[in-house]
Symmetry: none
DNA sequence: TCATTCTCTAAGGTATATCCCTATTCATTA
DNA sequence: TAATGAATAGGGATATACCTTAGAGAATGA
């Protein structure tokens, strides 16, 4: 009895080629390929795959949303996220959405094959790199007990300062704009970096753009 | 005599699996795999591939810049861009940078195989969708000829440094990566800021993202 | 309600990065 | 051949970032 696998990726080149390679594995069988989240949900319902290998960034309906809906509808399917993102937020969100595994596209193909078998055996599977990220996050939360995930959320003032930083304003400019001490701005900046685990202005700027705190 | 192919993609999962599938084609042989632009340039020099299949968005040194340098150094290699982007600017820039083919990751695998043979036969190859985009652009440019490219304001080295800055690397990191003095990086940064009339890292980062020198 | 945790504010001291100027080499070009 | 541009890099002054500490007020939770 072979493992029924469904592949979901908006890049046909990826899913098609993965499919061809997975066909070589004698204990697996690709039963469906979808190129967006909506299609994935429909095909999951129809084909009842054991394992769904899913990309996150897709048009129409993204992988995170698709995860949630598939978990609600056909929870017997187990989802492995195959993403190019290794940022903490993505991993955490994916796991919250019900993914049982998370691997990077940067990984070797055999990692995917291994993860499919692992997840099929009712285990989880995280890329070693990802495991590091998640554990680090978890340990940091242990030190400040009580308050879970929302710790990473920025305060309104911090968001305000972040926006100004990412728009190219200097510490002094911002202090002047907000009519407070430059030292306070520095403290805010440090606090933002600490919360987001980002280490410099370039990374802050990228984050702010990604999160829509500022626009390009 | 088989076609020597090099694959360049920061997603190992993609290049590795493409490699396995290309190995089935009797007239092709994958001679090298790189996961960033710098590596690609080095391997192109060493292995002299006939065809280079290259992704555009990569850390460290992006595909566009890598194209330009490979064209300057080993122009006998012919480059096919394999990108998830189908926006006009990317295609146009890639062709300007010397790419002979451009296909989307959304395309079927056989499109890639076909394009490799086509480009090897000294033809170009554009995805049908892409062809439409390029032709439209070409016609539009006929109306206003000689529009200078703003990116050309920066030298190749400067673009390289700009990418690294906008990816959050410190001056020292960059100096180490490029194996030159930190003082030189400072000079490059100053020169970039001067040319672009930008005054800080946040603005540089935004510019780099807007111009596709780095990706989010 | 009272203790605890955030948030916003800010300073002092040290380390590090940036800024401005100058300069050499090599390649290209007028 | 003189001039320009690109890549390299050092010296010295200044600015900024980083680390630590801290207080007042708001919010929260037991």
């Amino acid at each position: 009895m072979s493992i029924k696998v469904m592949l979901v990726d908006d890049h046909k080149m990826v899913s098609e080629v993965l499919s061809a390679l997975l066909a070589r594995e004698t204990d697996m069988e690709v039963v469906a390929i979808a190129d967006n989240g909506r299609e994935a949900i429909r095909l999951a319902r129809e084909t009842k795959p054991d394992i769904i290998v899913m990309d996150l960034t897709m048009p129409e309906l993204n992988g995170l949303e698709a995860c949630r809906r598939i978990m609600a509808e056909t929870p017997e399917s187990r989802i492995i996220v195959l993403s190019m993102h290794m940022e903490r937020e993505y991993v955490v969100e994916a796991i919250k959405a019900g993914a049982k595994g998370y691997i990077q596209k940067m990984s070797a193909f055999k990692t995917l094959v291994g993860s499919i078998r692992s997840v099929q055996e009712k285990n989880g599977f995280l890329d070693p790199i990802i495991t590091g990220i998640v554990l680090k996050d978890y340990i940091e939360h242990l030190n400040k007990p009580g308050v879970p995930n929302e710790q990473s959320a920025l305060s309104s003032r911090e968001r305000e300062v972040l926006q100004l930083i990412s728009e190219g304003k200097s510490t002094k400019d911002i202090a002047f704009t907000l009519n407070i001490s430059a030292k306070t701005i520095e403290t805010h900046r440090r606090q933002i970096m600490l919360k987001l685990k980002l280490n410099n202005v370039a990374e802050l700027t990228r984050y702010a753009i990604r999160e829509g705190i500022t626009s390009l």
